[in-house]
């Protein structure tokens, strides 16, 4: 296994390389940006149409009341878990190879949550009344229903979003200070000056910073788990066959980590190319990432099987019918595609030769995400099409172009946010790469490690 990172890389060089990403990306960056904006245009157009005409244009119906919006909502929520995985979990586990790549993973967390949040709005029949969901003292003397998993969602996502934004921001303060010190004019200078809060890298700052970062990381892990468990309880708390499954929360969390990792691989490759990060986002790191993804894929597969088995050997005939319907009904192609992309395809990642083959990984990681997206859709659609009440079973409900348009546009929205972030803020954590380089070089010199080293 090669080196995660060259330990002889000069610190000034790190600054220079990363700061360069704020200045002059490859042309591909602008192309991506343009495409993203065009995609958002599609979504905005679709949403305006849907807003004005009514939810009916999304081609849902009375037994099939949820569609792609909720599926994609879960998808994006799931996506957000990767950031937490890399920055918080691996941070606690002292896996320092995460350092060059955790920043963008965290940004991904934030932006995919922001995208997910939009889907809640898009999904609502009366989105102009969305403030009814907020618990605030009002003149109507009315409160939201705190028993509803959707309100839990609201709480959980608000918590998660604000916590991860803070986490991202706090972790970025030292880097913002670097930016402040190296950029001397323009709005950026002002932005970095304000945002770095006057960080000087003093020992007092570092000391508190370290503890704070660790504490929030500790909070974020259960939070992330709870967020996706709560999203899972939107389903598990209901009585729909196919949803009313005890193992949904862990299953959702595993799926979330899985899709998040796959997305990180994709973005890793894109960023590496676009911002010329070859020195930092190195193949050995990719290799570790791929192996992690593989492991999570197997966990997910296992939980998937558990879910099927518990339904199959359970006594709930309705749920069993539902499972059979999924595997044999009109949704069968999607179901089997999901199994293929989610469980079979990742087996490829077990082979060394694919673990660093970027073009293949790029394609595979996208397919994995397609599989994970299908997983969410396969939770939503077949259950509605085959619920408790046979009279209202509907024909396979194919979403309308409006739904597809908004889902499609959401990827543009995410990409736009993400790409703008990478252009404005250092997407590789400079100070942590320096730490990494520093510690690697110390280890290389066979110097006795200082106590408490990591």
């Amino acid at each position: 296994m090669g080196k995660d990172i060259r330990e002889d890389i000069a610190w000034a060089q790190i600054n220079k390389d990363v700061l360069k990403s704020l200045e002059s990306p490859r042309r591909m960056y602008w192309i991506i940006l343009f495409i993203a904006i065009a995609m958002i245009g599609v979504a905005v157009g679709s949403e305006v149409y849907q807003y004005q005409t009514g939810m009916g244009v999304s081609n849902k119906n009375n037994s099939h009341v949820w569609g792609l919006y909720i599926a994609t909502f879960i998808f994006w929520i799931g996506m957000s878990h990767s950031g937490t995985l890399l920055s918080a979990i691996l941070h606690l586990m002292h896996a320092d190879w995460r350092k060059p790549i955790y920043r963008f993973a965290e940004a991904m967390t934030t932006f995919s949550l922001m995208t997910a949040g939009l889907f809640v709005l898009v999904h609502l029949g009366r989105l102009w009344m969305v403030y009814y969901v907020m618990p605030y003292p009002n003149e109507r003397w009315v409160w939201p229903n705190f028993q509803s998993p959707l309100v839990w969602d609201m709480f959980a996502i608000a918590t998660y979003l604000s916590s991860s934004v803070l986490f991202l921001y706090v972790g970025m303060i030292p880097d913002l200070a670097i930016c402040r010190d190296n950029i001397h004019a323009g709005w950026r200078k002002k932005l970095y000056t304000v945002m770095s809060l006057g960080w000087e890298g003093t020992d007092r700052q570092w000391r508190n910073f370290r503890i704070t970062y660790l504490t929030i990381a500790c909070f974020l892990i259960p939070l992330a788990v709870s967020v996706h468990s709560i999203v899972a309880s939107d389903f598990a708390m209901s009585n729909m066959p196919g949803w009313h499954v005890t193992s949904f929360p862990p299953y959702f969390v595993a799926g979330a980590l899985y899709s998040g990792c796959a997305a990180i691989i994709t973005l890793f490759i894109i960023l590496r190319y676009v911002f010329k990060f070859e020195e930092y986002m190195t193949l050995p790191i990719m290799k570790k990432l791929v192996r992690l993804t593989f492991a999570i894929a197997m966990v997910w597969t296992y939980l998937n099987l558990i879910e099927f088995a518990s339904v199959w050997y359970g006594h709930d005939q309705t749920a069993k019918d539902q499972l059979i319907f999924k595997a044999t009904g009109p949704y069968a192609p999607f179901f089997w595609a999901m199994i293929f992309f989610g469980s079979i395809l990742p087996l490829m990642l077990a082979f060394k030769r694919f673990q660093t083959h970027l073009p293949i990984l790029f394609v595979v990681s996208i397919l994995l995400n397609v599989g994970m997206w299908l997983e969410r859709w396969m939770i939503i659609a077949p259950s509605f099409a085959h619920g408790h009440y046979p009279w209202t079973w509907d024909h396979d409900q194919w979403p309308s172009l409006v739904q597809w348009g908004i889902v499609f546009g959401s990827f543009g929205w995410f990409t736009l946010l993400f790409m703008v972030f990478c252009k404005v803020f250092p997407s590789v954590s400079m100070y942590e790469v320096k730490e990494m380089v520093y510690h690697r070089s110390l280890a290389l010199k066979h110097k006795p490690a200082v106590k408490g080293d990591y």
């Binding site: 009916g56 009375n62 009341v65 229903n145 998993p149």
Partner: protein
């Protein structure tokens, strides 16, 4: 002071429906539908359209499953492979079951659907934000969503048809969920009249629109608390109890004479609508 209130009345707040020790006080509206009398003629459904301002969505939208029929007639065949459906069809009017433990109520994020003191499952249109979770969680799928703006952009009631609209019932705009209300506008009037007269509502004083038209009188509706009410007697006779998810009929062989049952009772929704099984003559 809210917290004081909370601490003082804690035991009250931990109380739940349905429960034997805290039955409904004055009213518990319930229904029973005799499937042996129901001929599937659809009169109830039309009556509901007339009474409750249901929009006629048209063929295109009906095809997409956007229809609004708060009471819909389902038609089942049980000819399992025989050449002819020679025992006829089974018709079943399905409407909101006004479950005592309604799955829709707990999941509504804004509390637009609640349980009223009269045992109705209420739906407040104006509070609804349209998350459609209630419908997702309704095992009977008896809730209907306004997928379009029927009164305005869809012009479902072109002039002068809008003059038919019942002013006692809101005309729902787009994005809200709606469902059978047991004709709550009629119940409210009946209760108000009864209170002014210093009594409670008598059996038969108030009818739901569907009950009123039913040519064969298959639908009975009334107050389950009232010992004189027909509906209560029917429930009693059929040994169907509101607060149970397993009835005498399910338990014992000797109860085979009973034909009252509630749909999907196993899900513990405790519906307020009892159905009476359809009968077929064995001699022919």
């Amino acid at each position: 002071m809210s917290i004081t209130n909370l601490l003082e009345n804690w035991s009250d707040f931990r109380q739940q429906h349905p429960s034997d020790d805290r039955p409904h006080r004055e009213y518990k509206w319930a229904m029973s539908i005799d499937l042996d009398s129901c001929t599937g003629c659809n009169a109830c459904s039309v009556a509901c359209y007339a009474e409750n301002n249901l929009p006629v969505v048209g063929k295109e939208k009906f095809a997409h499953g956007h229809s609004h029929h708060w009471i819909r007639i389902e038609r089942y065949w049980d000819n399992d492979g025989r050449e002819f459906a020679d025992q006829g069809a089974q018709f079943l009017p399905m409407l909101c079951q006004h479950c005592e433990s309604a799955p829709c109520e707990t999941v509504c994020p804004v509390g637009a659907t609640n349980h009223t003191a009269d045992g109705l499952n209420s739906q407040v249109y104006n509070r609804c934000v349209g998350s459609r979770y209630c419908n997702a969680n309704c095992p009977y799928k008896a809730r209907y969503f306004n997928w379009y703006d029927y009164p305005t952009t869809d012009n479902v009631w072109p002039e002068p048809m809008n003059q038919q609209l019942n002013p006692d019932v809101t005309v729902r705009g787009k994005g809200v969920m709606e469902k059978c209300t047991f004709c709550v506008q009629r119940l409210t009037v009946a209760k108000s009249n009864a209170r002014s007269a210093g009594r409670s509502v008598l059996d038969g004083e108030v009818q739901t629109a569907c009950q009123q038209v039913c040519p064969t009188g298959a639908i009975s509706f009334g107050n389950l608390v009232d010992p004189l009410a027909k509906v209560g007697k029917q429930w009693m006779k059929q040994q169907v109890e509101l607060n149970k998810d397993k009835q005498a009929k399910d338990a014992e062989e000797k109860a085979a004479k009973l034909r009252g049952y509630r749909i999907l009772e196993g899900l513990r929704t405790y519906p307020s609508v009892m159905y009476l099984e359809q009968l077929r003559e064995s001699a022919i």
